[in-house]
Symmetry: C2
Subunit: 212 residues, 2 copies
Amino acid sequence: MAERGRPRGFDRTEALERAMRLFWTKTYEGTSLAELTEAMGINAPSLYAAFGSKEGLFREALAHYSDRAGGGFWKELDEIPDARTAVEHLLLATAAAFSDPADPPGCLIVLGAQHGCDDGDAVHRELRARRRENLDQLANRLRRAVTEGELPADFDAAGAAAFYLSVQTGMSVLARDGARREALEAVARGAMLGWDRWVAGGAAVKSSLRSS
Amino acid sequence: MAERGRPRGFDRTEALERAMRLFWTKTYEGTSLAELTEAMGINAPSLYAAFGSKEGLFREALAHYSDRAGGGFWKELDEIPDARTAVEHLLLATAAAFSDPADPPGCLIVLGAQHGCDDGDAVHRELRARRRENLDQLANRLRRAVTEGELPADFDAAGAAAFYLSVQTGMSVLARDGARREALEAVARGAMLGWDRWVAGGAAVKSSLRSS
DNA sequence: CGATATCTGTAGCGAACACTACAGATATGG
DNA sequence: CCATATCTGTAGTGTTCGCTACAGATATCG
């Protein structure tokens, strides 16, 4: 059954793309509806008919971001067979993406909204959930490497995941503050310098702690 | 000369402290004047007489934060004689502070405002400048260790500073997302695992890159 | 063609925002 | 005691916010 009524006068996907880039540049709360409608080339009622609300539009923009811009290296994390190479690639690809002049610097999922504390707000909960997803994906990738025998049984997958995600998250802010690609790559390479000692296991971690 | 006119009816420092904690919890843009006046126990005209504007109040709150809450470990970075211990202490003290239940999690300087791109806004420029200050202080501390002979002449102080700051910055977001103290300490310890290879110098970094 | 359904543009809604005019209150300086 | 100066509380200001009522336009269905 074909659609009835007057057909939509704009390309929904392109409008969504423009909204995503605006949210990415100015954050959720920092982007007004007037700015959105202007960038999308439509009027407010068209926006509400197509996306429901500012929040609905943001959530769709977020999904679009995960599928397109921010999704690449996270998918590859699972595809690259060697865990060490996979993590290194994640960080180096992040360094390249966050400093790509064609896109706003940093990650929409990290920088896309205010970082309040209480936040029962749905947008903040969704962003938090997606960051949590990244943490889990990283930990699961490392655990997989343990079961595959690449990493030792006592490998601290949860700790290492938190560490590597912390590095990647910090890179978002550094990029927003103007860090160049070489600087971000130095961060990525620096994070990999400790890999062997992560692999060496809990004893090495503890001795490093004792030496302080 | 003593002050003329009706004396102020509230403690300016305590009001500032309360404002700081509110900004710390809800960010600059996320905190309304109504919330501020309520938390500070004063009316809007008193706030404006004492602090000039919301922006002026935030800047004073920021200075208060640097002097009091966020300032401790950054001062100690320069006081601890051994650079390795100094950096390790910075990260471990950060882990403890960011997960202290008595304070809002994470750092006001990292989380205190929206992370927009263009931002000619004065508040954002000041936060960015303070983050830049942290980067410079860390790099200078490492360079000092080079001149003192603790670190080799070819030590990549700028790269290492970017790396360790990236870790610390990421910890702010992890803390905001609910990371416990042990998780943040794992991040801190993980960051120190690569220290020796940072010290081993550019050749080690490059070989690590080649191995990917 | 008429009925129906959806989209578009104008124009404006109530609420929240940062901020302030003004009058009364309360101190000091002479 | 009077003049002056500063603070406090009330009650607003104009602007911007996200959002929508409504009428006209444009499509399909029968």
